[in-house]
C-alpha cells in the first residue's frame, strides 16, 4: 500500500525562523558595540600614515576634512570653515562634552593652511584637547 505523503511530514510546511533570529540578535549586539565608533562623516578622506600613536580615547568628537575640502563635525556636514566653531560648540554642549578630545581627520593631500584654520577654529570653540588622526602603520 502506498503511504500517505502529507501526513508523514507535516513540519515541512513551517518556516524555520531560527536563522533569522540568530542573525538579527548578532546584528543588534554588533550595532550596539560599533555605534560609538561610527560617529564619523562619510566623506572621502585619505588619512596620512604614521607609526607613532599616543591618544586612545574611546569617546571623541571627530572633525573631518575631506580631500575636496568638505568639513564635518561628527556626521554633520558644516557649510563653511567659519561655521566650524558654531557646530563644534553645539556638539560639545549637546552631551556636556566640554573636555572631550577633538580629533581632526584631515586628508593627507590638503594644504596645511586649511588644516591649521580648522585647528584654530577648534581651539577657539573651547576644545581643551586636540589630536590629529593618522592611519596606523604607513608604507
Amino acid at each position: 500500500m502506498r503511504p500517505p505523503m502529507i501526513r508523514n511530514n507535516p513540519m515541512c510546511t513551517r518556516i524555520n525562523v531560527t536563522p533569522i533570529i540568530d542573525v538579527a540578535l548578532v546584528l543588534v549586539i554588533i550595532l550596539l558595540i560599533t555605534a560609538p565608533m561610527l560617529t564619523v562623516a562619510d566623506l572621502d578622506v585619505d588619512l596620512p600614515a604614521a607609526h607613532s600613536r599616543d591618544i586612545e580615547d574611546q569617546g571623541y568628537i571627530s572633525l573631518t576634512v575631506s580631500k575636496w575640502g568638505e568639513i564635518a563635525v561628527d556626521e554633520k556636514i558644516v557649510p563653511t570653515v567659519d561655521s566650524v566653531r558654531e557646530y563644534l560648540v553645539a556638539r560639545m554642549n549637546q552631551d556636556d562634552q566640554k573636555d572631550a578630545l577633538v580629533v581632526v581627520r584631515a586628508d593627507a593631500g590638503l594644504p596645511h593652511a586649511l588644516v591649521r584654520k580648522v585647528l584654530e577654529e577648534a581651539r577657539a570653540s573651547g576644545a581643551a584637547r586636540l589630536a590629529i588622526a593618522t592611519r596606523q602603520g604607513g608604507e
Partner: protein, 136 residues
Amino acid sequence: MWLQRRQADEEGMSDVNMTPLIDVSLVLVVILLLATPLAFESSFGVRKATSSARQASSETEAPFIEVTILSEDEVQVNREVVSRPTLARVLRPLLASSQTRQVSVKCQDEVSHGAFVEVLDITKLCGAKEIAVAGR
C-alpha cells in the same frame, strides 16, 4: 519500502544544522570588513604653542626645539635647514639633550598635511614628549 523511507528520514534529523552558524559567521565577516578601516585609525595629541613659551625658549638657550617645515622636502630645525630624510638624524641628539623634550612645529601654508604629519611622526619617534603646533 515505506518503513525504509521513514527510517532514512529519522536518520537525517540527527545531522547538525549548520545554517545558523554559517549565517552568523558571514554577518560577522561583513561587519568586520566594514569596521576594519576605523580600527586602524590612530591619532596624536597636539597643543597650541604659546608666545610666552617661545619667548622663554629664545631666552634660555632653547629647551623648546623649533621645527619649521619650509617645503615638502626641506625642514628647518632651530636655525639649521635639513632635508626631510635627514631630519631624524639632526633631531634625535637635540631631543636627547633637551630637558623638557618639547617641540614647536611651524608649517608653511602650501605644504601638504601629509608632509606635516610625517614631520610630527618623526618628531614623536625621535622622543618628543610634547608637540605644539605654532600658528602663522
